[in-house]
Subunit: 478 residues, 2 copies
């Protein structure tokens, strides 16, 4: 007991001591969202979810952490960025790195072989934060995936359609959706003379082309990864190509590339994908781009990446990316679910992920530039009084309004000044003020003031609810 | 390079090996939400958010982890339940234990001294999970808090009103909102003869009364915490009391309790609180209960706890709680923000937290009992065809519908069977099927089938959008 007492005392002293040296901040690479930012964020989410639902998706949720081994061996060179939890006895856990691996784990665990789902949640990466460009260690992903055995490229093309829809509806300016195919990449490596065991690591090098010059990538391939210079130059010829259906046809006639069975299959798939994109009316924004690689191990077919044009990367010598760059990415991953299934049963999947933090950075900057006033509450009526001893009457009136489903507030003071009440309505954008005082109580009325027009009307108390509802309708439709 | 090659090979073998012994599960105390559960969850959230917004709250968000020291010294004996992240170089981090401490950190960091905010997010506790009773290690909290220097008990009473509103609107059956006051508890300990340095630990014992018999709590006080038996018995007299305004008046006349200045102040505050609850029309569900303690260190004034009546705890000898018990809790914490402010500047706060997992368990059981069909998608139209080679036509029609904002789906097969398309609409509750075939294409029409009435109509293609919108309105209003 004595020890316990001493420990408690020590803890108390510890608390007091902490206050002085304590650094008041959020963890590195994370941030709070203030109410204005939340209002913008919710608008962005609504646009995205509307699109996901328009395409028939249901939603699900998974825990923020997974067993560490669930994430093991899924992310290639990026695995070092996974956050682990401390071993406090019990299971070894890691924070989710994306929503795709938990989705595959969910499918295998529940033996689901067909689903179209969206999932909007935070993921965690111990990356170098670059917060002005929207790169955080905690950030939202908005994922849409289609799992199931279907005919080629139909769900794959719908993913392109969805990205197109969302980027158009968010009004972020012009964009391009780059597409490529893992089989085309593999075939390209094959015909260029890359040894089979180097496909993955050379693919990682190609993946850097969106941030780095070809010369630097070439050097990495030769110096670090031991590639023959002639092989690197062969690759260099291909990865500078991008285009549309005509490029697919041209490459199908290429003397070298279609000699690889993988490349030929990939090109034929690409032809089908682009045809469906044409029917969906989105082909004008799609670019078949042979430099698109994407680092994650689990992709097996089509891969996507959407880039905003105004803010497209300008590769600099420091390797730093300028602008927000990629705002969506994804691809086909037919082998991932099988990695979780005890019998290795495969469920083909394809999906896209919208990188909302980058989108959000742009929307926030736009809102600031327009200096538009963003309301952070939805309150319709401020219940007010300019007279003393009206607290209970204001409480009563609030109760009437709340119980009728009307959004109402009052200042939590016994005798607030009328001016302060007006100012609160003004600064927070509350459109109506319901004023009561001795006169109103005697007459059985409430004075309703429109903050915009400054018009005041005397409303019989019995009619107040219906009049307020009518005024709110008028205001919101004006 | 040789080493790298070997390591890569080893990693590949490792992956294959993993597949066999891998345990396919979510971490202990966590769960996935499937689409049906998500549909229920979203309905519950909507009810809660509607209420928060009706009372003028804005929302904000904070990271899922905080600096470890941000959480240190805030949770008393519960601190051992905090999840820490592994030290991977850099800051020491912990998962948030509640939303209150991050809120206080946010206020101090941004020097905000007045805000009414809600925050719905997951929190993490390494507690003993009891998942059938809705106790998880990862769970949602729905918090509403009012920060600011206001007149006594006005915001405090609004919190009671909000809990009342939410529990009523969720339709969970009868409930009681227990209220007490830290100053009354402290005063009670004082007059009963508890040494000042034991207030906290004795408060923790009292907190167990919702799960344990008084006899066991008394034993803990005497045996473990060294309290004088007479003192424990004095406490026992008080903690069995509960009632309304009449109990407040009775205790203000008590020969012993009001001799403590803290108790007298607390009782007068309680009188004001109950009066405002009466005006808000919620007093019938409020019980002033002297056994309500709440374990967290940071409460300084009113404390709340809402309990569902049907499922109220039946204390058993094993100390296990039966039923879901508490579904909301909170209180006043005037000192917490000051613990973060470099100059110790205080911002008075009061708030409540809705324990959504418990509510959700009940709603899910109810939905199962009623065997009601819950739709997990919002799709209005399935685009279908019974004929071969209609894939491109179905894609075209989907594009038309999507581009007009209509929620539409199709089966991702080149030549799906008509029966399968009907079954998909049937099982997922899609109300309309738009059928195209050679005849429709020739006539420039679409056959629109109502799944409920089985009525079919031939719609000119040019009118399709407006007819579908009209049919959807009719269906949703019927």
């Amino acid at each position: 007991e004595e020890v316990a007492k001493l420990l408690e005392l020590k803890a108390q002293i510890g608390d007091v001591g902490t206050n002085q040296k304590f650094i008041l901040k959020t963890p590195k690479g994370t941030r709070d969202y203030n109410p204005k930012q939340m209002a913008i964020r919710e608008g962005v989410f609504k646009t995205i979810v509307d699109s996901f639902k328009r395409h028939g998706a249901e939603t699900l949720d998974t825990p923020v952490f997974e067993l560490k081994e669930t994430l093991t061996g899924k992310y290639g060179e990026d695995s070092k960025l996974i956050y682990d939890l401390k071993d406090q006895g019990g299971e070894l856990l890691s924070l989710r790195y994306d929503l795709t691996v938990p989705f595959a784990r969910y499918l295998a665990m529940n033996k689901i072989n067909r689903i179209k789902r969206y999932h909007i949640a935070k993921v965690y990466r111990r990356d170098n934060p670059a917060m002005t460009r929207g790169r955080y260690r905690e950030f939202y992903q908005c994922d849409f995936d289609i799992a199931g055995q279907y005919d080629p490229m139909i769900p794959d093309a719908e993913c392109v359609k969805i990205v197109h829809e969302i980027l158009t509806n968010l009004g972020l300016g012009d964009f391009v959706i780059k597409v490529n195919h893992r089989e085309i990449l593999d075939g390209m490596f094959e015909v260029c003379g890359v040894p089979a065991d180097k496909f993955r690591t050379i693919c990682s090098s190609v993946d850097k082309l969106d941030k780095t010059f070809w010369e630097d990538v070439r050097e990495e391939m030769i110096e670090e990864k031991g590639l023959d210079p002639a092989t690197a130059d062969n690759i260099g010829q291909y990865v500078k190509m991008n285009g549309g259906l005509e490029l697919v046809e041209q490459l199908l006639q290429d003397p070298l590339l279609p000699t690889s069975k993988a490349a030929k299959q990939g090109l034929e798939g690409m032809r089908t994908l682009l045809k469906y994109c044409q029917i969906f009316g989105v082909l004008d924004k799609v670019s078949f781009d042979l430099s698109l690689a994407r680092g994650l191990d689990y992709y097996t077919g089509v891969i996507y990446e959407a880039v905003l044009k105004g803010s497209e990367m300008l590769p600099t010598k420091t390797g730093e990316q300028v602008g927000v760059g990629s705002v969506a990415g994804g691809g086909r991953y037919d082998g991932l679910v099988g990695m979780f299934d005890p019998k290795g049963k495969q469920v083909p999947c394809v999906g896209v992920s919208i990188g909302i933090e980058r989108v959000f950075s742009i929307m926030e900057a736009k809102a600031q530039a327009k200096a538009e006033k963003i309301r952070t509450t939805e309150t319709d009526v401020l219940v007010a009084s300019g007279q003393r001893d009206m607290l209970e009457e204001r409480l009563k009136l609030c109760t009437e309004l709340w119980d009728a489903g009307i959004k109402a507030e009052m200042i939590y003071k016994k005798n607030p000044k009328m001016l302060n009440q007006f100012q609160l309505a003004e600064t927070t954008g509350i459109p109506l003020i319901a004023v009561i005082g001795e006169a109103e109580l005697k007459n059985g009325t409430v004075t309703l003031r429109n903050m915009e027009t400054r018009a005041e009307e005397q409303i019989p108390r019995a009619d107040l609810i219906s009049v307020i509802k009518e005024r709110c309708r008028q205001i919101s439709s004006s």
